[in-house]
């Protein structure tokens, strides 16, 4: 099998997303989050990751999706970025999937403009489509609000 890549997958509402596994540091259960007043809305707050302070990004807000229902607690997907680890809050964690390069396709032109910078494209899995997230952009605070 030529050129396969492994993705760590997760769900936001009913949508499936994937991040290359090598960019994922760890996945941890819901944590105490200290909110940061005056911060951009996509920044949910700060968590204590074994003594390291990590920013938690609300991925639903980043992607302009509706809020997570209050009774659900989000999962932290801690990803490595150039600026150090950042936690992305997701609804549910999925499997690690292995995909081939040829199943990839750029996003359709009709994709919401706000999503363009964040979504590289999709991998056509057998049963469904997996969004490929741009990790660095997803961890930035000035995208998704339309201000870029």
């Amino acid at each position: 099998m030529a050129n396969t890549q492994q993705f760590c997958t997760f769900f936001l509402k009913d949508r499936l997303f994937g991040i290359p596994v090598e960019q994922v540091q760890e996945v941890i259960q819901s944590q105490d989050i200290t909110r940061v007043p005056l911060a951009p809305p996509v920044i949910c707050g700060l968590i204590n990751l074994r003594g390291q302070i990590v920013i938690a990004i609300d991925l639903r807000r980043q992607l302009a999706m509706e809020e997570l229902p209050a009774e659900m607690s989000p999962i932290n997907v801690v990803v490595r970025t150039q600026e150090g680890p950042v936690s992305l809050l997701v609804d549910v964690i999925g499997d690690v999937v292995e995909v081939e390069e040829q199943t990839f396709e750029r996003p359709p032109d009709t994709l919401n403009r706000k999503m363009w910078p964040l979504i590289f494209g999709v991998h056509k899995l057998e049963s469904r489509l997996m969004h490929v997230l741009d990790t660095e952009k997803a961890c930035s605070s000035c995208i998704g609000t339309g201000e870029v």
């Binding site: 105490d32 200290t34 909110r35 940061v36 007043p37 005056l38 911060a39 951009p40 920044i43 707050g45 700060l46 968590i47 204590n48 003594g51 390291q52 302070i53 990590v54 920013i55 600026e83 150090g84 950042v86 961890c139 930035s140 605070s141």
Partner: protein
């Protein structure tokens, strides 16, 4: 230790290190005789030792290294091929140098030596290779310096006997046993026999070590800074963990656990202090370069300057030392270049033609103060004013109304330099603003004071360390925040009746009377936009009010918080770049319960709440506005104090001119020299009724309603004048266009502020007008 001894010690440490490398280099060179880099490196090392030994008057050392250097320079220039013979001679020289260094370390002298043979060998080798009998080289090998002063080192047994911890027979028995073939040390044998406790042996060994006179290269090691940083990080984690454990155990009854956690607590604190200490360096390390800097700069601009230092041994964290190095160097250069006058000018002014630059460092309140003082001409306020106008940093109008303090602060503006001509040292306009930014970046403050004709002092307050700081923990809207203790002045708690009445309003701006002075209040909840109900809301009625009195720059303000918890040592952790733009936070920390708390940046908070309103900020905003909107000079964004005069008259004063707002009871007014005065902060302050100057018909005083006078205090040259106004309305920040108005004394012009026509007061003009009609104590200069 005297200065000389310190220099010698440093020379020794450096030379030992270099010699070790030299051994390796020479060996490498032998394998690869044409390697220029290695040759150059060896040459430099020997050259350095030669130079320093000449300077320190170690003549034999100098003569020897000189011979070696000559040989090396020929090798380096490729005039001689490297032969094993030469290598041997050079290694012999290295050994001889090492011998001498040891002798210097032990006795301070090179010792009686005979290196003539070695030197002549080195000299002979300068000549192109002839037939040189090998034996001569070996003969030149240095014999161990027999008359090198030997320090008598007592053996362990002697020490133990002397200390009375062991008797002679026991020691002798142990020594005999050792001589009989026991491989262990005497100490071990004695401990095993039960004659001496191991603790005593350790002490005796220490004594012995001391007597040996620890070699300088043995007693210090150089450690990679990255390693220390990581260690410091780990200790930071440990401190956090300690906090968690202490918090947890305080809620249990288990006395054993409690005692253990207390020991952990103590140990952690000691460890933390110890690690911090390893990172501490005396400020003298950077200062030691300054005499040279001063000499060069002074020579370059034809001045005579003497440098004096006090508090060289004051220690600071390494990262801070690094951070203040450049700003400090800049200040020193500046003081010599701009501050101190040329000798002729000094003589004319009746001063010593030789200027004095004084550096001083001392600890105060958990911070280090560093002062750079010169006895030069001081700041020329007129020149500063003109320069600022010329550079379009402020308008002529603003300049005329600025206080000296504000003018002083101008030099911290980007792009500001008063040097008439740009010299190669300073005056490029990238100076003081960079100094200020760099110092503020590490949580310090810079302040400049100047007396015309007497000189200037730049005073910096620098935190000792950046990593772990004491902080006050407060709660606002259910979240905890840490406030660095250095900004904290005091805590005020208002309860019951006081809580309702202790907070008053100056047209919407809440204030509290703290020992008779008005303290502006800032609600943390409001600033964090946590809640709509802030000052004056009904919800606060029943509760008490907690005020944290803080200092930002040199202003004070009260921060109202929900709860004041405790002080704690916190470990400062940086925030990600996504949050860097919010100037409200200095970082974050992890609390005892493992949760994250934000650290408030007091200066940022004050700026956000407009407590600190520096010219610096105005000027920046102003130029931005002008650039982006292309507005010509007249429309400006200004913060003004509005007050009402008469029935409908609205008057504005530039807020930067207002020192304070005060309220005096009418009966506090006294008369001195036909002038109304009040006693104010230890001074007698003349009062000017704005109505007297501005209104053609003088009002009768006693007709005025109210029992108290509203007074705007204006201070210049350390003297205050009180302007009595009818009613203070508001403080507004607005951009407005001022129409010049002639013919009315004390008024600069009119402007539309808050959609109403408002007169803008010319305070110096007003005072001048008032003093014209009566001989006022204070001149309007």
């Amino acid at each position: 230790m005297s200065d000389d001894a310190a220099i010698v010690k440093e020379f020794l440490i450096e030379s030992y290190e270099n010699l070790d490398r030299l051994d390796q280099d020479l060996v490498v060179l032998e394998k690869n005789p044409t390697d220029r880099n290695t040759l150059a490196s060896i040459f430099r090392t020997i050259h350095t030792i030669k130079g320093t030994s000449g300077f320190l008057a170690f003549n034999q050392l100098e003569a020897l290294t000189h011979a070696g250097e000559s040989l090396l320079s020929r090798l380096r220039d490729g005039l001689l091929p490297l032969t094993p013979e030469i290598t041997t001679a050079l290694l012999a020289m290295v050994d001889a140098v090492r011998e001498m260094l040891k002798s210097i370390e032990a006795s301070g002298k090179e010792g009686e030596r005979n290196d003539r043979d070695l030197i002549s060998t080195l000299a002979r080798l300068l000549e192109p290779p002839a037939v040189s009998p090998r034996s001569e080289v070996t003969a030149a090998k240095v014999e161990p310096a027999a008359n090198r002063p030997e320090l008598p080192v007592p053996n362990l047994g002697e020490i133990l006997i002397k200390r009375g911890t062991a008797n002679i027979s026991e020691v002798n028995a142990a020594v005999e046993q050792q001589n009989a073939g026991d491989p262990r040390h005497v100490g071990e044998i004695l401990v095993e026999k039960g004659a001496v406790k191991s603790q005593e042996i350790v002490e005796a060994l220490n004594t012995q070590q001391h007597a040996r006179g620890q070699s300088a290269s043995d007693s210090t090691i150089r450690v990679d800074v990255g390693q220390l940083d990581r260690l410091m990080n780990r200790v930071g984690e440990l401190v956090l963990l300690r906090n968690q454990i202490v918090q947890y155990t305080n809620s249990t009854e288990d006395s054993e656990l409690l005692a253990t956690s207390q020991r952990l607590n103590l140990l952690t604190t000691e460890l933390q202090e110890g690690v911090m200490k390893t990172r501490m360096q005396p400020i003298g390390n950077i200062w030691s370069k300054f005499p040279r800097t001063v000499r060069d700069v002074a020579l370059g601009c034809g001045k005579q300057v003497r440098i004096e230092m006090e508090g060289k041994e004051t220690e600071l964290d390494k990262t801070i030392i690094e951070a203040i190095k450049d700003p400090l160097t800049h200040l020193v250069r500046n003081a010599v270049d701009h501050g101190i006058e040329p000798p002729e000018a000094r003589t004319q002014a009746g001063k010593n033609p030789q200027g004095l630059l004084f550096l001083r460092a001392f600890h105060e309140g958990g911070q280090v103060n560093i002062e750079v003082t010169d006895d030069g001409a001081g700041l020329d306020y007129e020149k500063l004013r003109n320069k600022a106008i010329q550079k379009a940093l402020i308008t002529a109008d603003q300049a005329a109304r600025m206080t000296e303090r504000e003018i002083t602060n101008l030099i911290f503006l980007p792009g500001f330099s008063t040097a008439e001509k740009v010299t190669n040292v300073s005056g490029r306009g990238v100076g003081m603003d960079v100094v200020k930014t760099n110092i503020e970046k590490i949580g310090g403050t810079v302040d400049l004071q100047s007396k015309p004709g007497q000189g200037s002092t730049v005073r910096m307050k620098i935190p000792l360390t950046l990593a772990i700081i004491p902080a006050l923990i407060v709660t606002s809207a259910g979240d905890r925040y840490a406030i660095p203790q250095v900004s904290l002045l005091e805590l005020v708690r208002l309860e019951g009746e006081q809580a309702r009445k202790g907070i008053e309003m100056v047209s919407g701006a809440p204030v509290h009377r703290l020992r008779g002075k008005l303290l502006p209040l800032v609600y943390l909840k409001t600033e964090l936009r946590d809640e709509s109900h802030g000052p004056g809301s009904d919800n606060d009625d029943s509760q008490s009010v907690n005020i944290v009195v803080l200092r930002a720059d040199d202003r004070q303000f009260g921060l109202v918080v929900d709860e004041i918890n405790d002080t704690e040592e916190i470990v400062v952790k940086p925030l990600g770049k996504q949050l860097k733009s919010i100037n409200m936070y200095a970082g974050a920390t992890i609390m005892g319960d493992g949760k994250v708390a934000l650290i408030l940046d007091v200066l940022g908070l004050a700026q956000r709440a407009s407590v600190v309103n520096e010219v610096r900020d105005h000027a920046v905003v102003e130029t931005d506005d002008q650039q982006s909107h292309g507005v010509s000079g007249t429309a400006r964004r200004n913060t003004v104090l509005l007050f009402q005069q008469g029935e409908n008259g609205r008057i504005a004063i530039d807020l930067s001119l207002v020192a304070r707002l005060e309220e005096f009871p009418r009966d506090a007014v006294e008369i001195a020299a036909d002038q109304e005065v009040v006693q104010y902060r230890g001074q007698i302050m003349p009062l000017i009724h704005v109505s007297d100057v501005l209104e053609s018909t003088r009002r009768k005083r006693d007709v005025d309603a109210g029992e108290s006078l509203q007074v705007v205090v204006y201070t210049q040259n350390g003297r205050s004048v009180g302007l009595v106004v009818d009613r203070i309305l508001d403080i507004v920040e607005e951009s407005f266009t001022q129409q010049p108005q002639s013919g009315r004394e004390g008024v600069l012009g009119t402007a539309v502020i808050q959609r109403r026509v408002t007169e803008v007061l010319d305070v110096p003009g007003l005072i001048a007008a008032a003093s014209k009609s009566r001989s006022l104590a204070m001149a309007s200069s």
